[in-house]
Symmetry: C2
Subunit: 735 residues, 2 copies
C-alpha cells in the first residue's frame, strides 16, 4: 500500500482511529462540548451540603488531600431540612482545551465574601466603581496586599450575602469573576432590524438586574462543586468548616503569647534573652527559634548548628525549665548537605529552590524521609511546634524564587497544583508526629488553602500593613482560616501599641522579634534596637505592654470556649460582623471591626489615631473600659488612649475573665470572674481538659455551664475529664 503509506502510515492511522473512538465515548473531553444536564444533578452528601459533579474532575484537589474526615456528627446537629439554595439548572458548565468554566447565577445586590485569607479585599463584588464585580484570582502569594485576589491562603470557597456557600474543589489557580462579565444570553433573539434597538435596551436592562459568577478553572476538564445551605451566611460557613473536618483546637498554651527571638542569637544569648523576659514578668508561653539553629540555611539542612547550639538537648532543657514551649523555624527546601538529600531526591520535584530539593509531600515516601530528619532534629526532642516558612509563591514577580509552575513531582502533580497545595501538604506532614503521639501542636505557616480548618497552624505574613492585617482578621473566618497579625518593630510607640492591641485579639498573640536583639518594648525602632539604644521611657512602655499581654491572658478561658465551639460547630472564633448580623446591610462593608468570640466586638485603631468611628450592630452594647451602655445599629465616635483598644461587649452575655497568668503550666487553674453583661445574660460554657493532648476529642473533656438568672448564679461541671481543674469561679460581677 505505497499510496496509503505516503500520507498516513498504519501506526498513525490506528492511533487516530483509537483516539477518535476514545473521544467519542468520553464526550466530556471533547473540545467546547457542554456537559449534558445529568451531570449537574445535585447529590446530597450531608444535611445542607450538596455536590454537583461537572465533567471529569482532576485527581489532585483539596478533597483528595483532606486533612480530616468530614464532621458528620457536627453537621447532623445543625438545622436540617434545608433545600438546595442554588438552582442547579441555572448553573452552566463548559469545557475547553484550556480547562473548564462555570456560570452561576447571582443577584445584582449580592455580596460575596471569603476566597481564603484576604488582607486587601473584603466584599468581593466591590471595585472602585462600586458593587460592579471583580476578578478574584486564587493564586498563592507572598505579597498578599494586592487587589487581584492573591493570598497566603487562596481558597476556592465563597459565601454569599444571600445565605449560601460554594466550594469549587480545585487546586488550580482558578479565577472567580464576581459579576463583572456579561455572557451573551441565548434568550435574546431578534428578527426585524426595527426591533433591534428596543430589544437591545430591554436586554441591557435585564443584565443590570441579574449577574453572573464566572468560575474559570484552568487545565481541569471537570470540577466538583459543593453547595452549602444557610439559611444564614454563618451557617453556610459552619457547614463548610464541618465539611472540612471542623475547626482546630489549640493547646491551652497556644492561646498565650509567642515571642520569637533574635535570629543571630545562639543558645547562650537566647537563654539570656528568655530569662530577661521572665525577669520582666512578661506573659509568654511559646518561644520561637529562627533559622540559625541549622547548620545550613537557605536552603535547610535540618541539622543543628553545633557552633551556635553546641548542646541542643541542654538548650531545650533550660528553656523548658523557664516554662517556654518551643517553636522552630524551617522551610522545606532541603540543602545538599542534609543527610536525607540523596534519599529524598527521587521524591522531590524536578527544580531546585535555593539549591534545595522540593519534597513531594503528597507522597508517603517524601513525608517519611523528611520526617525522619525532622524527628531526629526536632520532634524526638519534644519540640512543641514549628514555623513553616516560604511555602507560598510569587505569582506576580518577575523573578520568582520558588519552583516554576511547569515543575513536575513524582506523584504526577505539576508546579501549579503543588503551589496551591504545598502549604496544606507541608502542614499535614509536620502535624503527623503530633497526631501519632495524640498531642496538639500550634504552629505557624505562610501558605494554606481550602479545607484547612482542622490544621493547627496559623497563617502569617511579612507584608506588615496594619490595616490589612486587621482586615485579615475580619476575613479569615469566612474560610475557616487562622491569622496572626504579628507585631515586630514600629514607626512609633503609638504604632507599636496599636499593632499589639490587634495582635492580642487575634488567633495567635505573636511578637515576632526575629530581627531585633532586644524586646521591642525596650526600643520599637529597628535600627536603634539593633544598637541597643533604648527608649527613655522604656520602663513605662514595658508596663503598658505587660498590661496588654495580661489582657490577652485574661481572655484565655473565654477564647478557649470559642475554639472548642469552632471545633464542634464550625463557628469561627473571630468573625466579620456580617456573619453575626446578616440582615443588617450596614455590616456588609465593615472590614475594620470583628467579633472575638460571641460577645466581644473589637474595633482596632491604627498609628496616630486616638479616635475612630465604630459601627455597633443592632442590640445594646457596653464599652469594655467604661462599662457605658450604648445603643446599637448606630455609628459612634470613640476616643481611646494608645494603650486602650476599643472593645464592646454585647448586651445579654456572660463574659468570663481570668486573673492573668504569665504562662500556662500543666496544672494551671484560671481564677475566673464571670461578668454579667446587661439583661438576661445567656449561658456560657467553659471547656476543661488536659490542655495539650487530643483526649478532649475522644470525650476527656468537661463542660462548665455558667448560668446567671437575676441574683442566682451557677457553674455546672459535667464530662469525663479527671485531670487538674482548669477553672476556679472566683466571683460573679455585674458589668
Amino acid at each position: 500500500m505505497p499510496l496509503f503509506q505516503t500520507w498516513l502510515n498504519p501506526a498513525t492511522a490506528i492511533r487516530l482511529l483509537l483516539l477518535c473512538v476514545a473521544l467519542w465515548v468520553t464526550p466530556i473531553a471533547v473540545h467546547g462540548k457542554e456537559s449534558d444536564s445529568s451531570t449537574n444533578q445535585a447529590k446530597p452528601i450531608a444535611p445542607g451540603i450538596w455536590r454537583l459533579h461537572f465533567g471529569n474532575p482532576e485527581r489532585f484537589t483539596p478533597t483528595f488531600f483532606r486533612s480530616a474526615d468530614m464532621d458528620k456528627v457536627g453537621l447532623k446537629k445543625m438545622a436540617s431540612g434545608q433545600t438546595m439554595p442554588v438552582d442547579a439548572a441555572k448553573i452552566s458548565f463548559q469545557v475547553s482545551d484550556r480547562g473548564c468554566s462555570l456560570q452561576l447565577p447571582m443577584t445584582s445586590s449580592e455580596s460575596i465574601y471569603g476566597f481564603g485569607l484576604h488582607t486587601e479585599l473584603f466584599d468581593m463584588t466591590r471595585s472602585e466603581h462600586g458593587q460592579t464585580g471583580r476578578r478574584v484570582s486564587l493564586k498563592p502569594s507572598d505579597s498578599p496586599e494586592n487587589e487581584l485576589g492573591e493570598s497566603h491562603a487562596p481558597a476556592p470557597f465563597y459565601v454569599s450575602s444571600e445565605g449560601y456557600g460554594i466550594f469549587v474543589d480545585t487546586a488550580r489557580f482558578a479565577s472567580f469573576h464576581t459579576g463583572n462579565v456579561a455572557p451573551v444570553r441565548k434568550t435574546m433573539e431578534t428578527t426585524s432590524s426595527e426591533a433591534q434597538t428596543s430589544t437591545a435596551e430591554l436586554y441591557r436592562a435585564r443584565i443590570q438586574r441579574a449577574k453572573t459568577m464566572l468560575v474559570d478553572v484552568p487545565t481541569a476538564k471537570g470540577v466538583d462543586v459543593y453547595v452549602f445551605a444557610g439559611p444564614t451566611m454563618l451557617e453556610a460557613v459552619e457547614r463548610y468548616i464541618l465539611f472540612s473536618g471542623g475547626g482546630t483546637v489549640p493547646p491551652l498554651w497556644g492561646l498565650g503569647v509567642q515571642y520569637r527571638g533574635y535570629t543571630k542569637y545562639g543558645a547562650a544569648e537566647t537563654l539570656a534573652l528568655a530569662a530577661r523576659i521572665r525577669a520582666a514578668r512578661m506573659p509568654c508561653d511559646a518561644w520561637g527559634v529562627e533559622p540559625g539553629w541549622q547548620s545550613k540555611v537557605y536552603s535547610s539542612s535540618f541539622v543543628w548548628d553545633t557552633n551556635r547550639f553546641p548542646d541542643p538537648n541542654g538548650f531545650l532543657q533550660e528553656m523548658r525549665a523557664m516554662q517556654y514551649k518551643m517553636n522552630f523555624w524551617e522551610h522545606a527546601f532541603t540543602h545538599p548537605t542534609s543527610p536525607i538529600y540523596d534519599e529524598l531526591k527521587p521524591w522531590s520535584g524536578d527544580y531546585l529552590v535555593w539549591n534545595g530539593l522540593v519534597p513531594d509531600f503528597s507522597t508517603t515516601q517524601a513525608r517519611r524521609i523528611f520526617l525522619k530528619q525532622n524527628d531526629s532534629a526536632l520532634f524526638n526532642r519534644k519540640v512543641e511546634s514549628v514555623k513553616l516558612d516560604e511555602c507560598d509563591y510569587q505569582p506576580e514577580s518577575a523573578t520568582p524564587w520558588s519552583f516554576p509552575l511547569a515543575a513536575k513531582f513524582p506523584s504526577g502533580m505539576d508546579g501549579e497544583v503543588m503551589h496551591s497545595l504545598f502549604g496544606l501538604l507541608y502542614q499535614q506532614t509536620m502535624w503527623e508526629p503530633y497526631q501519632k503521639k495524640n498531642m496538639r501542636t500550634w504552629g505557624l505557616v505562610r501558605n494554606s488553602h481550602a479545607l484547612a480548618s482542622p490544621l493547627p497552624y496559623v497563617l502569617y505574613s511579612d507584608s506588615y500593613d496594619a490595616r490589612c492585617y486587621t482586615r485579615g482578621l475580619a476575613n479569615a473566618g469566612f474560610s475557616g482560616l487562622l491569622w496572626a497579625p504579628e507585631v515586630r518593630t514600629a514607626g512609633s510607640i503609638a504604632d507599636f501599641y496599636r499593632r499589639l492591641e490587634t495582635v492580642i485579639f487575634s488567633h495567635d498573640a505573636l511578637i515576632n522579634a526575629w530581627f531585633i536583639p532586644n524586646p521591642p518594648w525596650d526600643q520599637v525602632d529597628r535600627k536603634k534596637n539593633e544598637h541597643s539604644e533604648f527608649m527613655p521611657d522604656r520602663q513605662a512602655v514595658a508596663d503598658n505592654v505587660r498590661q496588654l499581654l495580661r489582657l490577652r491572658m485574661s481572655f484565655i478561658p473565654y477564647f478557649y470556649t470559642a475554639f472548642n465551639e469552632y471545633h464542634s460547630t464550625g463557628k469561627p472564633p473571630i468573625r466579620a460582623l456580617i456573619l453575626d448580623w446578616p440582615a443588617d446591610a450596614k455590616t456588609r462593608q465593615i472590614d475594620d471591626e470583628f467579633m472575638f468570640g460571641d460577645s466581644l466586638l473589637v474595633a482596632p485603631m491604627f498609628a496616630g489615631e486616638t479616635n475612630r468611628a465604630v459601627y455597633l450592630p443592632p442590640g445594646s452594647w457596653y464599652d469594655f473600659w467604661t462599662h457605658a451602655r450604648i445603643t446599637g445599629e448606630n455609628t459612634i465616635e470613640v476616643t481611646n488612649s494608645v494603650e486602650q483598644i476599643p472593645l464592646f461587649v454585647k448586651n445579654g452575655a456572660l463574659l468570663p475573665l481570668a486573673e492573668p497568668v504569665e504562662f500556662v503550666k500543666p496544672d494551671t487553674c484560671f481564677d475566673v470572674t464571670v461578668n454579667m453583661v446587661g439583661e438576661r445574660p445567656a449561658d456560657f460554657t467553659l471547656y476543661e481538659d488536659d490542655g495539650v493532648s487530643t483526649a478532649f476529642a475522644r470525650g476527656e473533656q468537661n463542660q462548665i455551664k455558667l448560668r446567671a438568672n437575676g441574683d442566682k448564679h451557677s457553674a455546672q461541671r459535667s464530662g469525663n475529664y479527671r485531670g487538674p481543674e482548669r477553672y476556679k469561679i472566683n466571683g460573679w460581677k455585674t458589668f
Copy 2:
C-alpha cells in the same frame, strides 16, 4: 455479571479500555512522559531555519494564522550553509495536564532580547540582581509599563547574543524563564554520605556555569519551535522576519506626519482645524478621526453619526481637497444598534464587551459580516486607513473590561488564545479590503503578536512614559514590530519638544491631539488647551515644531529605503545598537539609543535634560548638527538645545536628505541632496514607485543607486516603474 456491574459498568469499561489503548499508542499525551528523542529532530524548512516538533501542538497558533507566506526568495539570498545553532539533543520537552514545557540550553553570559514590543525591559536576562534571569510572561496588556513581560505585542520570539533566534509557535500565555530556574540535574549521583558535600559544591559550580531557558506553555500538549541561525543576531532577526513574510512597506504618505483631531469635533470643526494646520504650513499627511464619527460608541455601531457628520462624503471630499489622507478610529466590539449585530452574533464570542459583540475574526463569516459594515461606512468611501483600538487585554487588572479567558468562540478558540491573536486577526481583517484593491494602507493598532512584520499597522499605547516609549523603539525591531511613541500634551514645553523629537525618528510620526481642541504647539498643557488659553510664545513654538516636522519630512527618501529593505531583507528600519554591533559588549544594555536606518544613530533626550551621555559604537561618527567628527567605541557627553535631538551619522555613508514637503502628493518629487559622510562612503539605494499601490512588490519599482568615489558621483536608475519621478538629485555635498 452482577459483580462486574457493581464496580464497573460495561460502557465505562469499554471507554477505559479504549482510552488506555489510545494513550498507549499516543505516548506524547501521557501525563508527564517525556517525548522520545525522535520528535526533536530538527527539520530544515528554509536556509538557516529549522523546525523542531514536540508532542502534539495546538491548531490555533501564529503560523496557522500567518499574515503572509514565508519569503523564500528573500531567505535564499541570505548567507547559506549555516548549521543548526542550538544542539537539539540538549533541548528537553515535557508534557503535563496543564500544558507543556521546554528546557533549552543557555550560557551564563548570554543576553536575550525580543519577546515582542517591550517598553520596560530590554536584555531579558537582567533583573535587579544583574544578569540572573527573570520570568517573561507573554500576556497581551494595555498596561505595558511593567516588568512582567506583558506587552501590547507579546511575541514568543527571542534572539540571543549568541547569535540565534527561537520562535515558539504558540498563542498561549507562555512564560519564558531566562535562566532563573534550576532544574535538578540527572547527572548528579552520589553514593557515600562523605562525598555529598563536595559533589554538591561541584554541582553548584556547574549550574553557575550553565543556565536553562525554561519555556512554559500552558494548555498545549506540544509545540513547534523554530530556530533561526545567525551567525549574527541581526541575521537571526532577518530570518525570522522573512519567515514571517518580510517587512511591510508603508505608502509614501505614511512616512509623513499624522495628526489626530479633537474627539468632540464634528465635521465642520474638524474641517476648520484641518484648514488651520494647513494655513500654519505644518507638515501633515494623515488626519485621524476619533470615535465620535459613529452613531454609538463604546461599543461601536460602525454607522456615521449624522448629527455630527451630516454628509460623510462631503466631509471626506473637503479633507481630501486639503490633501489629507484619512484614518478612522474604531474598536471591534459591535453595538446592539449596529445593522450587523444579529448577523454577527453567531460568529461572535459568548461574552459581551461594553455590551458589544466580540467578532470571531478567525472565521470567514465574521470577517465578511464585519467588513460589510466597515466597507459601507469607510472602505467604500476610500478611507486610507484605520486605528484599531482596545484590542488588547488587562491580565493584571482586578476589573478587566475585555472578554474573559474562559470565553468561547465559534471557531473553537478560547479567550486566552483569542486575546493573543485578536490584534493580529483584526489587522488581517481590516487589511483585506486594501489587499483586494492592491492598495497599501498604514494603520494603528494596540495589540499584535508574532509574525506581524507584513502587517501595515503600527503599535501605540496610552501609557505615555517618555523613556519607555524610547525603549520601545530600541526593542520593536527585534521582533519585527513597528511602534508609534506618539506625542499628545506635555508637562512642559521642553517635555513636548523632547517627545516630538523621538516621534520624528520613529516608525510613525504621530501627534495624537484627540483630547485637545487646539494643536499642542498652541498650548501643551491639557487643561489650558481645553480652555483655548494659548502659550504666549506659541508662534515661536510653532516655528520650532514646524522645523522638527520638516526634519522628519527631509528623511522620507532615506527612511523609505530602510522600509523597502525591511521588506526584501528583513532588516528592521529601526534597531537597537546591539543588532549592528553584536561583538561590542558595551551595546548590550543600551536601550536609550537606536539606529534609524543604516547610518543615523539617534539618542533622544528627555524633559529637563540639555545634556546626556551617548555611547557611540566602534568606528567614526559625525554630529548631525555640527558635523564634528567623533571617535567611536566611546561614551561622550552631548549638549543639545531643546529643539535639537542628538543625532550622529556613521562615517562612510551616503545620507540623502530631501527638501521637506508639507505632504506627499501623487506626483511629489523629492529634491534630494546627497550628503557624503566621511571616507569612502558606501553606496545607497533609493526606492521609487507609485507610493500607494502594491505594484512595487510585483516589480513596478525603480532602484536609484547613489555612488560617490572621490569627486565622482553617480545616480543610476534601474527598474520597471514608469510613473512620476520621485527623486531629483539636486546636489552632492561633503558632510
